[in-house]
Structures are given as structure tokens and as C-alpha cells.
């Protein structure tokens, strides 16, 4: 099933601006969250992850925020570039062999 959902199917931002992609999850038992980037016709690529004992984690130009109280996850991309144009998926798991549960994805469009 798809217990992880995204608020906006499409997000359009100006090049150079910051992007914020949101995700709501329904399984309060989930304790590990991942953001993936999928370019057209390709497989998803790992961007950043966060465990439930954290509320923020930073990578290169990306930050993931986790609010367990409202079961909300967000991905922030700083200084958005044309190469950031893709579909972004959040995923959740409680750990275990059955892998990850994915949301529907948000298509990030970069305006020049």
C-alpha cells in the first residue's frame, strides 16, 4: 500500500531559489525515512535519510526535517539548479526485509 503521501504533485520554483518538498506519513511505527530523486526514465537515487531519533539532518545543499508529532517529513533543496528537476519520493520503513513504503512523488520543475 501507500501509507506515505505527498502534499503537492508538482512544485515549480525559480532557479536559485530554495525548494521545499513535503511528505506526510501515516504509520507512527515507522522509524527510518529516506528521500529519493528519480529522473525521467531512470531508477530512484538515494538523496538523504533520517532516523526517528533525529529531527534534522543536513547534506550537501539538502536538508531533511522530521516532525514526528504530526508525522511530517520535508526535503529542503538550497539554491535549486536545473539538474534538480526530477520527481522526489519520500519513503518510510520500520526496518525489516520487506523494504520501503513509498509516497506518490512530487515533480519538481525548475523555472529559468
Amino acid at each position: 500500500g501507500e501509507s506515505v503521501g505527498l502534499h503537492l504533485p508538482t512544485l515549480s520554483v525559480q532557479e536559485g531559489d530554495n525548494s521545499i518538498i513535503n511528505c506526510a506519513y501515516s504509520n507512527s511505527a515507522s522509524d527510518y525515512f529516506i528521500w529519493y530523486k528519480q529522473e525521467s526514465g531512470k531508477g530512484p537515487q538515494f538523496i538523504i535519510d533520517i532516523r526517528s531519533n533525529m529531527d534534522k539532518r543536513q547534506g550537501q545543499r539538502v536538508t531533511v526535517l522530521l516532525n514526528k508529532t504530526v508525522k511530517h517529513l520535508s526535503l529542503q533543496i538550497a539554491a535549486t539548479q536545473p539538474g534538480d528537476s526530477a520527481v522526489y519520493f519520500c519513503a518510510e520503513t520500520r526496518g525489516g526485509a520487506d523494504g520501503l513504503t513509498f509516497g506518490k512523488g512530487t515533480h519538481l520543475i525548475i523555472q529559468p
Binding site: P9, K42, G95, G99, T101, K104
Partner: protein
């Protein structure tokens, strides 16, 4: 380093024909392996996963089956394709088995069109 290979990249098949998609992983042993399907405008749906040779878990009842004849080989099959089997199929492996929190690494996908 680990790599995952998936083929073919694109496949057009008539309704009622058989299907065989293959996935292999290199650079790791005894990985967990997964088949996902992605319909247009939707997320990834888990179809099958395997924790070892000959061990297959099915997540949804369907027209498809999976097999793992070798440690690093995962095959998705169908005896008779349906129109509803069209989609983007992704193979993935899970890294660092033994840790509770692990991410999936995906292949490049197969776009299947059933006509």
C-alpha cells in the same frame, strides 16, 4: 563497489505473451532483492522480495511471479501478460544486511508496454 544490472530497458509485448525480466547484483553477497512496479503518476509498489536463494515473498496477488535461482539473480516472470501489467519495473537491493536501517539501491528500470 556494488552495482545492479537490470534488462531490458524497454520492452513491448502483446497481451497473452510471456515475460522474463532479469536483475543481477555485483559486489555483494546474500543481498535482499526486490521488484517494484511504478505506474504513471504513482509511487512504487512492492511486488516481491527475496532474502535468499529460492525464498520469495509476494506482496500483492497478481499475474506475476518471481524467482531467485542464484544468490545475486532475481527474475520477474509472467506466463501470460495482461494490459494492466504495463508499467515501469524496478529491481533493487538492500545494502548492509544486519543493520536495522537500510536503504534500497535501484536498477535503471524496465519500461514494459503490453499492447
Amino acid at each position: 563497489s556494488q552495482t545492479i544490472h537490470q534488462w531490458p530497458a524497454t520492452l513491448v509485448q502483446p497481451v497473452g505473451s510471456p515475460l522474463s525480466l532479469e536483475c543481477t547484483v555485483e559486489g555483494t553477497s546474500n543481498p535482499n532483492l526486490y521488484w517494484y512496479r511504478q505506474a504513471a503518476g504513482r509511487g512504487l509498489q512492492l511486488l516481491f522480495y527475496s532474502v535468499g536463494i529460492g525464498q520469495i515473498s509476494s506482496e500483492v496477488p497478481q499475474n506475476l511471479s518471481a524467482s531467485r535461482p542464484q544468490d545475486r539473480q532475481f527474475i520477474l516472470s509472467s506466463k501470460k501478460l495482461l494490459l494492466s501489467d504495463s508499467g515501469f519495473y524496478l529491481c533493487a537491493w538492500m545494502g548492509n544486511i544486519g543493520a536495522k536501517y537500510e536503504k534500497l539501491f535501484f536498477g535503471s528500470g524496465t519500461q514494459l508496454s503490453v499492447l
